[in-house]
Amino acid sequence: MLFHHGEQLRLERLPAERSRIIYPPEPLAGLDDPDQAIRDALENPIDSEPLSALLFADMRLTIAFDDISLPLPQMRRPDIRQRVIEAVLDLAAEAGVTDVHLIAALALHRRMTEEELRHAVGDRVYDSFAPRGQLYNHDAEDPDGMTLIGTTRHGEEVQISTRVATSDLIVYVNINLVSMDGGWKSTATGLSGYQALRHHHNVHTMRQSRSFMDRESSELHRSNWRQGEVLRDAGIKVFQIETTVNNDLYGDGPLKVLAKREWEWTTRDRATFMAAKAGLDRLSPAQRRRILHGWRAPYAMTSVQAGEVEAVHEVTTRHVYDQQLVPVEGQTDILALGLPYICPYNVNSIMNPILVMCLGLGYFFNLYKGRPLVREGGVLIMSHPTTPEFHPVHHPSYIDFFEEVLAETTDPLVMEAQFEERFATDEWYRHLYRTSHAYHGVHPFYMWYWGSHALEHLGGVVVVGGDPATVRRLGFRPASTMSDALEIASDVVGRQPTITYFKNPPLSMVDVT
C-alpha cells in the first residue's frame, strides 16, 4: 500500500485478511464554463436579491476571501477566488462602487505574502487595489480595527473587523474544500479575533463536535451559527459565495499514479512511483519542500452558489458530500493514515510536529459522519517523519509551545487552563502576527484542541518512521516500521485487530454506519 510519509512516500504491507482500504471517490466532472456559472450564481442567488441589485454607487463594499489555507495544495491559476472576485468587481464597477476593500479573511492565521495574494486574486486585482491600501490581510490584533458586535444567547462574544462592521455589504468568497468550510464560519471566524474565537476554539467545543466536519453534529458550527445570527441581527449584510472543487490533485500527468488504487498499477505506474520515491528520498528536506509546495493542483470547479449564508451552505455541503462521502460499514480497531506534506497551516512552510498531530488527530480523524472510523479505545497509526523542524517566520509560537508547553503536558485541558492566556496575549507574538507572517500566539493551542476529540476517543497513537524523541514529546509512541507499529498496537487492541487504511489525499470523508 502506498502511504504518504510527509514529504516522502512509503510502501507498507498490511495483514491481508484483516485489512480494508478506503479509497477516495473518482474526481467528478468540473463545470464546463466556470466564469459563466459564477455570473449565473451572482444573478440568481439563493434566498437573496441578485448581487447587482445590492450594489449602489456610494456604498462601502467589502470583499472577503479565504486565505492561503485553502485549497490544499494550491490550485493552478486562475484561482477560483480570482474568477469570483473579478466577476464581483465587474458588477461593482457597473454599479459605480468606488469604496471597495478586499480582505484576506485569515483570522489568526499568518498574513499572506504579496506573492500568495497575487496568486489568490490575480495580478490585475492585486495591482489595482494593493498599492492603494484597499487589498490587505485581516488584522485581528489591530486595536483600532476590531469591533465588538454583541454576545450570543450562550454568552459568546461576537467580534469582527471594523471595516466589515461598517460596510453596507460583505461579499464573502469561499472555496469549500471540505464540509467544515463555509457557512457562518467564514465571517464569524475568518474576520474575527481571539476575543470571539476562544468561545468555540476550545477543548470543550471540540470534544462536543463529533465531528467538526459534520455541521449537524458539530458544536463548533452551532457556536459559529449563533455568532452569525448576532451578526445578521446587527444588520451586517453578507452575500455568501461558495464554491466546490473536485478532488483532482494530480491531473492526467505521471503523478496520477498517486491517486490510483495499487492493484490497478501498470508497470509504467510502478516505474513512475519508484522514480518519484527515489527522487524525493535523495533530495534535501528543503528541496523536497520547494518542489512539493510548488505543485499546483488542476482542481475543477464543480459548483458555485451565492446568496443567503445558511441556504447557500446547505447546497454547498451537498456538493462536497457528492464528491467526498464514502459509505463505510462498521468501525475498525486500528486506523492507519499516511500523512502528506501539507496541511492548512504549512502552505509554503514546514509541517512541524504540532501540525502533524493536528492533521492526523484533528483533520483526518474527524473526516467522518455518524461514528468515528476507529472504535473507541482503538489505535491510530500515522506514517510521518515528525522531525522537530519549525518555520522560524511562520510558527514562532509553535516552537515555544513545543519546548515549553508540550514538555509539561499533552493534556489539552491543562494547557488551556495554564498556558493559553499567556501565549494569546504575548506582545512579541502579537508583533510578529501583525507585522511579519506569523501565526497568532494562540494558534498552536487551537491545533492541539483540534485533536482533543481524537485524544479522548483513542486508546493510543503510534507514529511510523517518526523522530522518536519528538513523537514521545507529543505523547505518542514511535515505531520504525508498520509491522512494529502493529505490534505496539496489539498491546491495546489485541492480537487480531481489524485494520482500516484511510487513504488520504485526495480527500474523502467516511459515513460510518
Binding site: E114, E115, R118, D123, D127, P131, F390, H391, P392, V393, P396, I399, D400, E403, E427, W428, H431, L432, T435, S436, H437, A438
Partner: protein
C-alpha cells in the same frame, strides 16, 4: 637520635608550601615532640604569609591524618607551634623583617627546601632561587651571627650527564666538573634577562607580537589587542629565558637549568660558608640532602599522598589518555624514583644529626652530603615501570569524553630523537590544520571542532615538551650511591626506626606502582576513570542555570550570528535589490561579489572603519521607502535567518525580569521591527537630510554615521554606562556574542556566553570555561540575499 635530638628545638623551614616542604612540616609536627616551626613564606599577591600557611599548608590533605588523630582542638594546639614569617629566598636578606630575623637567629636548625623545581624555569629565575637562595641563607645567618645547622635540599642530578656511579661527594669533586665561577654565572643570567627584555621591546618584535595578537583575537578593539600584545611579549621573554637556561646547562654538562643551577647552588653554598668561616663569622654546619625524582608517599602520612603535579604524573596520564604513544628511554635503564616520605625522613635525620653536631657532638665533615635515591640499593628498571603502568591501565582504562574506554598503546622504547621527530611533525601538521580552520568561516559546532584541533595540538605540544624536558632523565644512566644514607640509617635508634624509614630497600616496586602511586595519580589528575558522560553536560547545565538565575539583572545580546545568521552586507543587499529589475540585479550581484574580498578584509581589520565605509552606500536612500521595505526584510531575511533558540533565550531573560539589551552595528531602520524583543536597542544611526525629488521633498540618508558605531571596546563602555544609568551591576549581567570582536563586551560582564562561536572565540571560551551555546542553524541559506523581485513595474535604482 631524632626524637630526643630534635624535641623542643626551633626549626626554620623554607619552601614549606612545596611538595617536600609540606610533608616535612607535617612529619615534624606529628613525630617530633614540642618542635617549634617557623616557615619562610612569600606574601601572595593578595594574601599574607600567615594566610598562605593556613590555606596552602595546614589545609592540605597531608594534615588529614594528624587532624583525624588529634581532633579539631588537638590539631589547633599543634598548629599553634607553627608560624609564618614573610620573606623570599629570591631577595637579598631573604626579605625578612626584624621579627623574621629574630626567628632565624634563634633557630637551632634551618631546612632550606625552597627551589624552583620546574625543569623549564627561565634561566634567571632558576639562578635567583636555586643558586642564590642557599647563598642568601648562608649570608643572612652570617650577618645575624647565628650558627644553626643548615640542611639544604638539592638533587641527585647535580651529578650531571654521566654514566655509572655517582657517589655522595661535592659537585667540585666530580672529575667532569667544568670549573665555573658561580658569580660570573649569576651576573650573566641577570644580564641575559636585561638583554632579552630589551630585544622584546624592539619595534620589529613588537610588530610581530601585535600581528599575532590581532590574528588571535581578530577585530576585538585596541585595548584588548594591546593587552594581548603585552602578554605575548612577556611570554616571549619567558620562553627565551627558558631556552637560554637549557642551552647554557647543556653546554656545560647538565640536562637542564634546574640541575645546573642546583649544582652551582651547592658549590656557591659551600664556598660562601667557607668564606664566612674564614672571615671569622659563625661556623655554620651544613648537610646537603640530594633526593632523586620525588614521587608520592610510600606510607606517610598515607600511601599515595602527593602534592602538585610533578614529573612522572603528567607523562603517565598522557600515556593513559592515549596522547603520548611513545616516550624515549632504555628498557633496562634505571628510573630513579624516591617516595617523598623517605626523603623527608632523610632530611629530618640529617637535621637531627646536624643539630647534635652543632652542640659539640662528633663533628661531621662539612658539608655532609646525603643522597636519597633508589638506583643503587633497589633499582627500578624502566621496563618494569612501563609494564606495570600498561597492565594497570589495561585493567582500569581511563574514559574519553564520550564515555568510551581509552586503549593504552604499546611502548616500543624508541630513541629520543625519533619520538621528538614524530611529535614535532604532528605538532606542525596540527598547527597548520588549526590555521586553516581559523581561516574558514566556521561557526558553532564546526568551530568547536576547530577548538578540538587546538586542544589536540596543545596536547601534542605538551607531549613534546615532556619528552624534551624529561627525556634526559629516563635515559640517564647514572647510578646514585647511597652509602651515607645507609650510614645515617644505621645510626638511628630503635625508636627512630619505628617513626622514620629512610632505607630505599623497603620499597616493593610492583606494589608501590600499582597500589600506591597510580591510584593516587589518577585521583589527583582528576582523570575520567568511569564511563559516565555526564560531567560535560552537567557543567553546561550548571553554567546555563547560572546565566538564567533570577538574580542576574541584565542580558546583552549581539545580533549578527548570535540571534540571526545574517549581517549588514546581507541586509544592504536585500534592501538594495528590493526595487531593482532583473538586469540591475545581475549587475548588482556581479559587483558585490567582486567587492566581497575587500569588504571581508576590511571587516576583519576594524569593524568601525568597515561600518563607516560601508554605510556610505546608503547615501541618498529615501528613508520612508527603506522603512517600508525594512518591514518586509524583517520577515524575509531577519526572521527567516533567526535562531529560534536565541529568540527564546531573549524572551526567557525578559520573563525572568532581566533587562534585555541588543547591541549591534546594524542600522536602526533595518532592525526596527526587532526592537520589541528588547528593552533597549543600541545600534548604528545614519544622519538624514531633505532632498527635493520628483515626488516633492523627501527625507534621505546622508550615509554618515551620527555617532561612533557600537563595536569592539565601545560595547564594553556602552554596557557599563547603561548599567550605571539603570542602576544595575555589570557583574550580574549576561552577554551573548559569537565572535572575538565582541570580546570587550563579553569581558565587561560577569556571565559571558559564546553563541555559535567562530574558531577564535570557541578557543577562548574553552580556555576560560565560558558557557558555549549552539543556537542551531538558521533556515535560509542564500549567499547573497536579495529582496523578492519588485512586481509593480516602477523599478528604479535607489541605492548605490
Amino acid at each position: 637520635m631524632i626524637v630526643d635530638g630534635l624535641a623542643g628545638t626551633r626549626i626554620f623551614v623554607t619552601g614549606a608550601t612545596g611538595f617536600v616542604g609540606t610533608a616535612l612540616v607535617e612529619r615534624l609536627l606529628r613525630c617530633v615532640p614540642d618542635v617549634q616551626l617557623t616557615l619562610l613564606i612569600r606574601d601572595g599577591r593578595r594574601t599574607t604569609a600567615q594566610r598562605r600557611l593556613e590555606r596552602e599548608v595546614l589545609r592540605n590533605d597531608c594534615f588529614d591524618r594528624l587532624r583525624g588523630e588529634l581532633g579539631a582542638d588537638g590539631f589547633a594546639e599543634v598548629a599553634a607551634r607553627v608560624r609564618a614569617v614573610s620573606g623570599d629566598v629570591g631577595s637579598d636578606g631573604l626579605g625578612l623583617d626584624d621579627d623574621g630575623r629574630a626567628a632565624l637567629s634563634e633557630a637551632d636548625v634551618v631546612i632550606h627546601s625552597a627551589a624552583t623545581v620546574a625543569f623549564d624555569s627561565p634561566l634567571d629565575r632558576a639562578v635567583e632561587i636555586n643558586l642564590m637562595g642557599p647563598v642568601r641563607i648562608a649570608e643572612t645567618l652570617a650577618r645575624l651571627g647565628a650558627s644553626p645547622h643548615l640542611v639544604a635540599v638539592s638533587t641527585c642530578y647535580v651529578a650531571g650527564n654521566r654514566r655509572g656511579a655517582a657517589p655522595e661527594e661535592p659537585v667540585t669533586a666530580n672529575p667532569f666538573f667544568a670549573d665555573l665561577d658561580w658569580r660570573a654565572e649569576v651576573d650573566a643570567a641577570r644580564r641575559t634577562r636585561a638583554d632579552v627584555d630589551a630585544e622584546s621591546r624592539t619595534p620589529e618584535r613588537l610588530d610581530e607580537f601585535r600581528a599575532r595578537a590581532r590574528s588571535e583575537l581578530g577585530p576585538a578593539g585596541g585595548p584588548l589587542i594591546a593587552e594581548r600584545t603585552e602578554s605575548l611579549r612577556k611570554d616571549w621573554v619567558h620562553d627565551r629565558m627558558v631556552t637560554f637556561g637549557r642551552s647554557r646547562a647543556t653546554s656545560v654538562g647538565w640536562p637542564d637549568a634546574y640541575a645546573f643551577t642546583k649544582a652551582l647552588g651547592e658549590v656557591a653554598l659551600t664556598r660562601t660558608l667557607d668564606r664566612v668561616r674564614s672571615e671569622g663569622g659563625p661556623d655554620i654546619g651544613c648537610t646537603i640532602v640530594r633526593p632523586s625524582i620525588i614521587e608520592s608517599a610510600l606510607a606517610e602520612p598515607r600511601p599515595g599522598w602527593i602534592r602538585g603535579f610533578r614529573m612522572a604524573e603528567p607523562i603517565i596520564l598522557s600515556y593513559a589518555r592515549g596522547l603520548l604513544r611513545e616516550f624515549p628511554g632504555v628498557p633496562e635503564g634505571v628510573i630513579d624514583v624516591i617516595p617523598v616520605d623517605l626523603v623527608v625522613a632523610a632530611i629530618i635525620a640529617a637535621a637531627a644529626e646536624g643539630a647534635a653536631a652543632a652542640e659539640g657532638a662528633a663533628a661531621a665533615d662539612s658539608p655532609g652530603i646525603v643522597q636519597v635515591a633508589t638506583g643503587d640499593a633497589n633499582p627500578l628498571r624502566y621496563q618494569q615501570l612501563v609494564d606495570r603502568v600498561r597492565d594497570w591501565f589495561t585493567e582500569r582504562p581511563l574514559y574519553d569524553r564520550n564515555g568510551q574506554p581509552i586503549v593504552v598503546p604499546d611502548w616500543t622504547f624508541p630513541g629520543r630523537g625519533r619520538v621528538e621527530g614524530q611529535l614535532r611533525r604532528a605538532t606542525s601538521v596540527l598547527e597548520r590544520a588549526e590555521r586553516v580552520v581559523a581561516a574558514l568561516p566556521l561557526r558553532g559546532t564546526a568551530a568547536q571542532w576547530g577548538a578540538g584541533i587546538e586542544e589536540k595540538r596543545e596536547q601534542a605540544r605538551r607531549a613534546l615538551s615532556y619528552v624534551e624536558l624529561y627525556g634526559a632523565y629516563t635515559e640517564c644512566e647514572a647510578v646514585y650511591g647511597v652509602q651515607r644514607l645507609a650510614e645515617l640509617d644505621s645510626r638511628l635508634s630503635a625508636e627512630d626506626h619505628e617513626l622514620f624509614t629512610l632505607d630505599p630497600r623497603v620499597i616493593d616496586w610492583d606494589r608501590y606502582i600499582t597500589e600506591v602511586h597510580l591510584p593516587s595519580v589518577v585521583a589527583h589528575g582528576r582523570a575520567r576513570s568511569s564511563p559516565s558522560k555526564r560531567s560535560a553536560t552537567a557543567r553546561t547545565d550548571r553554567l546555563r542555570a547560572q546565566v538564567l538565575a533570577p538574580e542576574r539583572q541584565m542580558a546583552v545580546f549581539d545580533l549578527e550570528n548570535t540571534i540571526i545568521a545574517s549581517n549588514v552586507v546581507a541586509t544592504y543587499s536585500w534592501l538594495a535589490t528590493r526595487r531593482l529589475g532583473t538586469a540591475d540585479r545581475v549587475r548588482f550581484v556581479g559587483r558585490t561579489l567582486l567587492e566581497a574580498p575587500a569588504l571581508l578584509a576590511q571587516d576583519r581589520k576594524d569593524r568601525s572603519d568597515f561600518l563607516r565605509a560601508f554605510y556610505r552606500r546608503y547615501e541618498g536612500a529615501p528613508v520612508e521607502e527603506l522603512r517600508q521595505d525594512a518591514a518586509e526584510h524583517f520577515s524575509d531575511l531577519l526572521l527567516t535567518r533567526s535562531f529560534p533558540d536565541a529568540v527564546r533565550r531573549v524572551r526567557r531573560h525578559r520573563e525572568l525580569g532581566h533587562t534585555t539589551v541588543l547591541i549591534t552595528g546594524a542600522l536602526d531602520i533595518a532592525i526596527e521591527p526587532l526592537a520589541p524583543l528588547f528593552d533597549h536597542v543600541v545600534c548604528a544611526r545614519l544622519g538624514t537630510r531633505v532632498e527635493s525629488t520628483r515626488s516633492g521633498p523627501t527625507e534621505v540618508l546622508t550615509g554618515h554615521l551620527e555617532e561612533v558605531p557600537p563595536t569592539a571596546e565601545a560595547r564594553a563602555r556602552i554596557i557599563v554606562d547603561l548599567c550605571s544609568e539603570l542602576d544595575l551591576d555589570p557583574r550580574q549581567a549576561v552577554a551573548y556574542a559569537d565572535s572575538s570582536s565582541d570580546l570587550p563586551m563579553l569581558e565587561a560582564v560577569g556571565f559571558p556566553v559564546a553563541v555559535n562561536p567562530e574558531p577564535r572565540l570557541a578557543s577562548i571560551a574553552r580556555k576560560r570555561g565560558w558557557l558555549v551555546e549552539d543556537f542551531g542553524s538558521d533556515f535560509g541559506h542564500k549567499v547573497l540575499p536579495m529582496g523578492p523581485a519588485w512586481r509593480e513595474r516602477r523599478t528604479g535604482r535607489r541605492l548605490a
